[in-house]
Each structure stands twice: as C-alpha cells, then as structure tokens.
C-alpha cells in the first residue's frame, strides 16, 4: 500500500527567503511522485513530477524537488519565495501496482509575509 505524509500542515516564510516543504512517502514498488499547487478556490496545478529518471526534478515557477530513496522523501524547495507562492501544496504518490491511482498527502499551506 502507498501513503504520503506531509510533515508540516502550515509553513510561514518571508518574501525572498527559501521555502522547504517536506514530504515522506511509503510505496511497495518504484513510485511516481508529484507536487501540485492549489491557489484558493482553484484547481490543482502540476508543479513537477518524478518518474525514475533524474532524482533532482525541476518544475515550474522556480520550484524543485529531490527524490531520496534511502530516506523515502521528496521534499519541495524554492530558493526565494514570492508573494504569489502563497497557496496549498500537495505531495502525491502513484504506483502502477495500485492502478496508477493517486494518494495525496494532507497538504501544506504556505503563507508568504512581505
């Protein structure tokens, strides 16, 4: 069975400082991992995905994530937060053995202070 844990339900950062959103996963086989962002009252937008190629994945809007199998982690980072990054972020795991069904983490809400 697959599962995802986002270690922080809320993260507060100042504009221009780094952002770190932590995600740990559990999967029986080689998983695919995703980060999605959701702005208020909007749908989910794909930020980036890991599919067993390069372990450091670059996404949109300056975000990147590193897949660490030994730590079963897929943390999301950005070097410098922008006010527009204020949103909720979801870490998601998928594996073929589970029919490619997505399992979502509980979400991390990011607040960016001016």
């Amino acid at each position: 069975a697959q599962s995802v844990t986002q270690l922080d339900s809320h993260v507060s950062v100042s504009e221009g400082t780094p952002v770190l959103l932590r995600c740990n996963y559990s999967s029986s086989y080689s998983p695919s991992l995703f980060w999605y962002v959701q702005h208020p009252n909007k749908g989910l937008q794909l930020l980036l995905k890991y599919t067993s190629a390069a372990t450091l994945v670059k996404g949109i809007n300056g975000f990147e994530a590193e897949f660490k199998k030994s730590e079963t982690s897929f943390h999301l980072t950005k070097p410098s937060a922008h006010m527009s990054d204020a949103a909720e972020y979801f870490c998601v795991v998928s594996e073929k053995a589970a029919g490619n069904k997505l399992t979502f983490g509980g979400g991390t809400r990011v607040l960016v202070k001016p």
């Binding site: 995703f34 749908g43 794909l46 995905k49 997505l102």
Partner: protein, 114 residues
C-alpha cells in the same frame, strides 16, 4: 493543447435537490477521467474514475453517481443531495496507457448544500 472545463464554478443547492456537475476535456482522445471531492480543510478523495465510455468505477459508497456518455465528457450526479455532499469537486484527466499517467485537474466546482 489539452484543456479541461468544469461547470458550474459554484453552486448552492437545498438538501434533497438533484445535482449534475459536468466536466469536459478538449485536445485529447480516450482519456482516463476522474472525479475527486475536497472537503474543507481536508485532502482529496477519489470518488469515481472511468477508462472509457460507459465504464465507471466507484471508489467509495456514497450518495453520488457518475456517468460518461461521451469520450470526453464526465458527469457527476445525485438524486437527493445531503448536507455532507458540500465540498469542492475536481475533475481530472490522464493519458491512458502512459507509463506514469500524470493527472491534470480542472478548475473545480464549489458546492454548498444548505
């Protein structure tokens, strides 16, 4: 390019009334289609998915049903709404048969049942 539409964007309905939410996808053929619900302050729950016209799989028992009358149309329905049906409903699509089947989400419908 592919786009996904949902309507209506918001809906306020009385308890016991019927429901019909529509999702359509453009720019792709034979997609997998999904309905999710996001309750306030909670993650996403998969409700239904479909791999083809008339083929619907239900993930959780509930007061809702889904139909796929056309290849790129997915409808979520209810005969009698409950208060607990309130939430944010998201439709998603993925390319069938792709290795990791990234899901792309629509803008969502916010439903409030009073």
């Amino acid at each position: 390019s592919q786009t996904i539409h949902q309507w209506p964007a918001t809906l306020v309905q009385p308890v016991g009334s019927p429901l019909s939410l529509e999702c359509t996808v453009e720019g792709t053929s034979n997609p997998n289609l999904y309905w999710y619900r996001q309750a306030a302050g909670r993650g996403l729950q998969l409700l239904f998915y479909s791999v083809g016209i008339g083929q619907i799989s239900s993930e959780v028992p509930q007061n809702l049903s889904a139909s796929r009358p056309q290849d790129r149309q997915f409808i979520l329905s209810s005969k009698k709404l409950l208060l607990s049906d309130s939430g944010f409903y998201l439709c998603a699509w993925s390319v069938r048969g792709s290795r990791q089947e990234t899901q792309y989400f629509g803008p969502g419908t916010r439903l409030l049942v009073l």
